[in-house]
Amino acid sequence: MTSDTLVAAAPAVPAAPHEFLHAQARWHWAEIAFWLATLLPFVLTPDYLALASQVAITALFALSLDLILGFSGIVSLGHAAYFGVGAYTAGLISVWGWGESLTGLVAAGLAAGIVGYITSFVIARFRHLALIMITLGFCLLLQEAANDANWLTGGFNGLQGVHTWKLLGTFEFDLYGYTAYAYALAALFLIFLLARRIIHSPFGLALRGIRENGARMPAIGAPTHSHIRTIYTIAAIIAGIAGAILTQTTETVSLEALGFQRSADVLVMLIVGGTGRLYGGLIGAAVYMVARDQFSGLNPQFWYFWIGLLLIAIVMFLPNGILGGLTSIAAYIKAKWAKAP
């Protein structure tokens, strides 16, 4: 069953492929409301801006995972590898003297993209458990290598001396986090637009086909391996950018940016939000991180317990993630309205 994005349902029988894509790509009012809501923390909860900026960064990371997992069916337990490469690249550039944010982002994205491109040749050839273990193994290896290269990465203590210049030359990264959140949110929005464009294109449709039945696609002329390599590289670039923003806004980067914990967390967040729906990663990141923050504040020793219960509850009652549940409710309401005279 193909998943749909948070967009008005396409006509039951699509008239022509291009019209189908155009219909899918129209902006739904809920989407506009969502993006307007992301501006609320500036006004309503300025004390939470530091958390908000980290949610935005994680949401961007989750979005990149959704592109490969939700839309292309590539299950990765090691996506943090690219996040980490981006994070360290941005950090190192700053330590070596160049602390400008936007060029740092580009460099980080490039570095992560190169690593992603090289690994994509291996990734494209495997599926199922083998793929999961290869992605996991690669990420673990990278983390070990980063620990060993502590002359470069700072090892366990983290990279010291990262200093980000004022954003665009004028905005200081303040204690409250106004600049950090604005920066992260802007990046998230722009890259989201790009991802949305990719998904609602013929290439995006091909990816969904590969997810549903990878063996069949070459029969209709879609170059599976090349598509997988492309989307994997794009996802790596986006993950790298997310990592760079984290480094730049917190002025710190350490080994856990590459860690298994980070890969596992983002996977959980994406599943919680709902895979293959573009907004799933964003919503999952927001829900999971805010829940964790609140549980942790209430009960620092045992918040694990509540988070575990939350996850179990979501799986049992919302099998398609939060977004899946919301779309079901919306469809149900629509059906009810349609019935009423």
Binding site: A33, F34, A37, T38, L40, P41, L44, T45, D47, Y48, A50, L51, Q54, E144, N147, D148, N150, G155, F156, N157, G158, Q160, L175, Y176, G177, L246, T250, E251, T252, V253, S254, L255, E256, Q261, I283, A286, V287, V290, Q294, S296, G297, P300, Q301, F302, W303, Y304, I322, L326
Partner: protein, 391 residues
């Protein structure tokens, strides 16, 4: 969904706002600590140390009520630690940051301390450079160079000519290796071999075997706490190391209470260096241990004392400033402060703001039916040798 979340957040903020109304007459300490995850036990001991002090001395100092705001980092997470420090200051109006068990977290939060000009007390993290990262940091625990240089020095001067070192391959372990070897070599010793093993290593037999092959006078082992000390003990026994012939040297975690319980009699003879053990024979410590046991039903350790003395420092500094809780006043008050702690006499160095204390060399012996660390040598007024020194 986003709206709902913001609504909830706004509501929570309103609740906190009600609490913040009392900000003028209270001083809040943001405890950036590990309450969950792998390091939860360390975090708990530090927290216990602080709460015991507060229980014994009341929660009011110089007319201000002291409140703890507990924040959980969950483990090694510098970005989270930095955010929590920011939130403690911005959201909870904390005047002081405390706890800090892990170096990466402390280093990240140091930036916040410097930017917001808040007094920060490091109660465990042991890497030297931490105090250099912000002019408002004071430390009440110990530093890795302080302890291990002293051990190396002692070893070289006490009949140990050759040593094989093995440490965990990450920041503190590497630090320990560098400074132990320095102390040892500076005093005439010879390092015949060294190895760094992976951090999460569960099995030490290969490494112990390699050490045994070189036949050194002593084997120096540095590991963090957790499951590893017991595994080391087992490996030593299995590989047939005779601790009377080949001395085993290490730092506090190798001979902690849990480690000794797990190792059993194999541990007899292990020589370790520390700033504190619950077995320290002084009336003040005996009272402290009894009070700690009454409250928490377990013995204090070197993590607890870091918390206990950290709280002492905060109280003493606030007394001296008459309740002024801004960073500049508190750090000025803290510099040069000295007092008698259950571990012995300690002082906050006025130049480096780091801890100056007595370092003890102990041996594991049987006391009654239990294995205890018995102190047999001590070095007073040891400063951290790394500050200002070129590595």
């Amino acid at each position: 969904m986003q709206k709902l979340l913001c609504g909830i957040a706004g509501f929570a903020l309103a609740l906190l706002g009600a609490g913040a109304a009392n900000a003028q007459s209270s001083v809040k300490i943001g405890m950036i600590n590990e309450y969950s995850g792998q390091f939860a036990d360390t975090g708990a001991q530090i927290d216990h140390g602080v709460t015991l002090w507060m229980k014994q001395h009341g929660d009011t100092v110089a007319g201000k009520k002291i409140e703890l705001v507990r924040k959980d980092t969950g483990g090694i997470a510098p970005d989270t630690a930095k955010r929590l420090a920011q939130e403690a200051i911005v959201r909870d109006h904390a005047d002081i940051l405390g706890a800090f068990s892990l170096t990466p977290n402390a280093l990240a939060a140091a930036d916040v301390s410097a930017q917001a000009k808040k007094f920060m007390v490091v109660m465990n993290a042991a890497t030297s450079i931490i105090t250099e990262k912000s002019p408002y940091i004071a430390r009440t625990s110990s530093t890795t160079p302080q302890l291990n240089y002293t051990l190396g020095q002692w070893a070289a001067k006490n009949g140990i000519k050759t040593v094989y070192t093995m440490v965990s391959d990450y920041g503190p372990g590497i630090d320990a290796e560098v400074w132990f070897q320095k102390g040892f070599k500076d005093n005439g010793g010879q390092v015949v071999g060294s190895v760094r093993f992976p951090v999460a290593n569960p099995d030490f037999s290969s490494f112990i075997q390699a050490a045994k092959d070189k036949n050194p006078d002593a084997i120096y082992i540095w590991i963090p706490g957790g499951a590893q000390p017991a595994a080391v003990g087992k490996a030593l026994a299995e590989r047939g190391i005779d601790t009377k012939k080949t001395k085993i040297l290490g730092q506090d975690a190798l001979a902690s209470e849990t480690a000794l319980k797990s190792m059993g009699d194999i541990a007899l003879g292990i020589i370790s260096v520390s700033d504190y053990d619950y077995n320290h024979q002084s009336p003040m410590n005996q009272a402290f241990v009894k009070a700690y046991n009454d409250e928490f039903h377990r013995n204090p350790d070197f993590f607890s004392i870091g918390g206990y003395d950290g709280a002492h420092l905060i109280y003493a500094a606030l007394e001296k400033t008459g309740g002024k809780a801004d960073g500049d006043s508190l750090i000025a008050a803290a510099k040069g402060m000295s007092w008698e702690s259950p571990r012995g006499p300690i002082m906050i160095d006025p130049q480096t703001r780091d801890i100056v204390q007595t370092v003890y060399i102990r041996r594991v012996e049987k006391v009654g039916n239990e294995l205890r660390n018995v102190e047999f040598a001590s070095f007073p007024n040891v400063k951290d040798p790394a500050h200002g020194a070129k590595k």
